[in-house]
Symmetry: C2
DNA sequence: CCTCTTGTTGACCGGTCGGTCAAGTGCTCG
DNA sequence: CGAGCACTTGACCGACCGGTCAACAAGAGG
């Protein structure tokens, strides 16, 4: 759905996306009806379909926008840091901060990952995150900072560590990012041998 | 729902659970209707409600049963292995094998983790998996095999690595368990410095 | 101040869903 | 062989859902 939007229109669209994200996180995507979303904002149903062609498109847009935002945060944090391992560490910390500030999106993303309807968008998002990490890992291997192993496997392992610690300590819990970040980075660098 | 079941009844119940699991994995829990499940087996709708009080109870039962099965496989594989780190490695490999043989359950579990309706069951399952790993890690710390760190964080990190590699290489892909298991164990033991 | 586009309303529609139930069928065991 | 319980059928129900639309409001630009 492409439309000419005024300033007010763009705000309304964002408002719908944010509110929907909150409701999706609370009750789940399918159980949350379009009626729920518009009622929660006190507007008519037509408003929704002025900005989105379908509920499915809405979630796809939410996924795209959030991924874009997270990636921007990572890039801003990494800046021009030269050390590839430090780039990963910074990226990890930036991701933790982002999820702490956007708890809702964690379960939305996880849901979307299980649903064929959103597989295309989700896969694209996951590939870019993976690609970024792989790039840094390859740099680290070339620089002789870490042994020569399959960088894709390593990247997946790193993302797995981050995902679990994020869920437990930042989404379900409320631990300080620093502590979680330090633990994540330490495990990724040295494993159980700490 | 507790009922006296004959042999035939128990088979029917299992048949319903297996078929439902397959459909849930393919189309998702909410989009799969009870009518879909019974039609796919060529039986009437009443059959479903003879064995389960609701669709929700069915999924809860699927989650409980699959977790029980996975845990049995882990215990059988570990046997009386004395080395705590080796126990973890064996448990990891057993889990990988189980998920390779039960691909369907991966996305079902992941979906359930995002839905408040199934949070109680899912949380219990997760806690036992976490508890098992933590126990081995504490043993390893006491035995001086690894440095003294927060075992819960370490356990979460291990589970995160296993989860990601499982999804990529056993659920989406079709890699041999040995290769994936070796990579997972290696990363968990030494991190990127592997 | 008028016009044209953006934005909003909410009743309405066809379809589906989870769940019920009265009526039957077929084992099983005494 | 008959009684009673396990099991099955499938039409039916009320609720709700995603999506449409005709009519209307509002504000920007000329």
């Amino acid at each position: 759905m492409r439309r000419k939007l005024t300033q007010r229109g763009r705000q309304r669209r964002e408002q719908l996306m944010h509110r929907a994200a909150r409701l999706f996180a609370e009750r789940g995507y399918d159980p949350t009806s379009v009626a729920d979303i518009v009622e929660s904002l006190g507007v008519g149903k037509g408003v929704f379909y002025w900005y989105f062609t379908s509920k499915e498109e809405l979630l796809a847009e939410i996924l795209k926008a959030s991924n874009h935002d997270l990636r921007r945060r990572q890039e801003a944090a990494i800046g021009d840091e030269p050390d590839p391992l430090e780039r990963i560490a910074i990226g990890v910390r930036a991701s933790l901060e982002w999820f702490r500030d956007h708890r809702d999106y964690f379960s939305i993303i996880q849901f979307a990952a299980t649903d064929e309807r959103f597989a295309p968008v989700l896969r694209r998002n996951r590939e870019t995150a993976l690609g970024d990490t792989i790039r840094h890992l390859k740099d680290a291997i070339v620089a002789g900072r870490i042994p020569d192993q399959d960088p894709e496997m390593l990247a997946l392992a790193v993302l797995g560590v981050v995902e679990q610690l994020t869920r437990r300590y930042l989404v379900d819990g409320d631990e300080p990012v620093d502590r979680v970040g330090a633990a994540a980075v330490s495990f990724c660098l040295h494993g159980l041998g700490g």
